[in-house]
Subunit: 349 residues, 2 copies
């Protein structure tokens, strides 16, 4: 029923109202999307009107619920935005909920950006569930543009690609405790070392993103390796997130280095560092396409959080017209700037 | 007949074998395109085998002709690449030749990148001619990616665009005498000033490119202004192209500043400087999307000539499947990296 646009607005449910979700809610609101539901498990958020969350004077009459099943059962919606966690193991059960109710879903979950190798079973099940309920699941965020389409657009001006090299960093302070844990923040360096082999099993953002990039370029993966190394504090570094100072010798975070070989020749080597920033640190995003000719791109001080949320919202119209199933964006056009997001021009599924 | 791909190769005619054409020929050859003809008006090139031009040991049996009509009349081809001049007034008669023979054509002509406002009459006539002969004309080059798709891809991660600001420079030494003339290279500064009002009538690369950018973003032009200012040599600067040293006080080239207002709100302001470089100068390409959030991109030392030629060649498969007529790339996908360019997967028109 919610596919027929018998209503005049695009109706969204925000699932996850933390740092990201809050900003997504504001962007949705400002682009003309009607927010019909909001969900979070944080007791301090439950019951709040979303107008308070996004800084509007007038209440919107939509309060944050702690019960996702109830929200979806009661409220038809066209799109659900899930901004909670980074890994498929954690996100799988949560993603099944909107899909079960036939609601198109886009998530910030970084592994879901291209999870076919790292979580094939969960991916297959989500794909079936989406198809059974005639809706679409996809994932997007910062990496969709800055580790993905930005590179493929520049590749379109290359005669011959030998290697693609990337380097990016993000501040764990900007995200949450869940992310800090995966990155080993605050561990004594000896303890991180002991856990490296275990951490190596988990895909890092760059892993999934580099597989996406290869697929987008029509390249097939021959071999992919991930190496995780700790970033050790050289001097005491205050963390708001941990509410303590990380001592010299403790972990600030980690660097993941991906080496991807393709059957076609070009290699992809990318390094992402997630850590608690010191006062002089900034987000970075630098890529080089080595070949004929070399192409070097730098994004200066990317506003990673805002760019993630804006990209997610700009992707919505494409999900609305996509085929049912779990689809990754590697064979979609790159996200478009959209002044408004209105359903009038969207066909029904 | 040349649309039916009854042959197993993609057959190209290179029209213009100067600095750009020579590199395009090599890229075509290395990507598996069969070169069936080459044309140039320069007497020192006529009669040369293109193998010599691109540095192959074995002759290819294709010599440069000074007679375009003869080449097209004799030799069926699937695509013609025209790399000669920058302005429609100059290029119009030349572009009619391949079109008359029903050969798909792509040109480096910068005005042709989006000529609908600056040369509406010529554009309309070329469109009719292409349609009458069931073939496609388009233009591409460096600006297709670096002043165009690069910006629109980043815009896809923006919540709100207030302004797009660009700054680019190129070395006139890399191009030719024709370009040097348009840029006032070597003129005494007083003489350039006298000619500014006249030069203002001619569209600069950035003008057409900014109109393309607005169209690509779905914005409509309310007002566009171009200001041309000379770049005066502060010290003597040697020019290989002019075969003399430009004295202090003479013009090294010019800066064109475009101010484009849209009916939808966002403005585009871009500045391109074309001049004879001193030893410390490098090509630059910097863009800022001002809005929520700001996005800053820098391409470090872009290899403008190589990137132009590679983009042109990578665009070929899209022309082969495009509708007949004069089409600009603003509503095509961005150019794709292509390891090979083979006709096997291209449908006929």
């Amino acid at each position: 029923m919610n596919k027929n646009f018998e209503h005049s607005e695009l109706r969204a449910i925000q699932y996850g109202c933390g740092k990201m979700g809050k900003l997504i809610l504001r962007y949705l609101y400002e682009k003309g999307v009607t927010i019909v539901g909001a969900i979070d498990s944080n007791p301090s958020l439950i019951g709040q009107d979303i107008a308070d969350l996004i800084g509007l004077e007038q209440k919107l009459g939509i309060t944050i619920s702690g019960n996702p099943e109830e929200v979806f059962a009661k409220q038809p919606a066209d799109i659900c935005i899930v901004a909670i966690g980074s890994l498929m193991t954690e996100m799988y059960p949560l993603l099944t909920i909107p899909l079960k109710y036939g609601v198109n879903t886009i998530t910030t979950c970084e592994e879901a950006f291209f999870p076919w190798t790292t979580s094939p079973e969960f991916s297959k099940r989500l794909d079936s569930l989406a198809k059974d309920n005639y809706c679409t699941l996809t994932a997007s965020g910062y990496q969709d543009v800055f580790w993905g389409n930005l590179i493929t657009v520049l590749a379109g001006a290359s005669h011959k690609i030998i290697a693609i090299e990337g380097q990016a960093s993000y501040n764990i302070e900007d995200y949450g405790i869940a992310l800090a844990k995966i990155h080993g923040v605050g561990l004594p360096s000896a303890e991180f070392a002991a856990k490296i082999s275990q951490a190596n099993i988990l895909p890092t953002y760059m892993w999934n993103s580099n597989e996406w990039l290869a697929a987008r370029l029509g390249l097939t993966v021959k071999n992919i390796n991930q190496k995780i190394t700790p970033v050790i504090a050289e001097q005491p570094t205050a963390s708001r997130l941990l509410n303590r100072t990380i001592a010299a010798g403790e972990c600030l975070g980690m660097t993941a280095t991906i080496d991807l070989e393709t059957n076609e020749g070009p290699i992809i080597q990318a390094k992402s560092t997630g850590k608690i920033y010191g006062p002089a640190d900034q987000d970075t995003n630098n890529w080089t396409i080595k070949g004929q000719p070399d192409i070097n791109v730098t994004i200066t001080q990317p506003a990673t959080v805002e760019l993630t949320c804006a990209t997610i919202v700009n992707r919505i119209p494409e999900i609305m017209v996509a085929n049912p199933g779990f689809l990754t964006t590697h064979n979609w056009p790159s996200p478009s700037y959209r002044g408004r997001i209105l359903p009038s021009y969207l066909p029904t599924k």
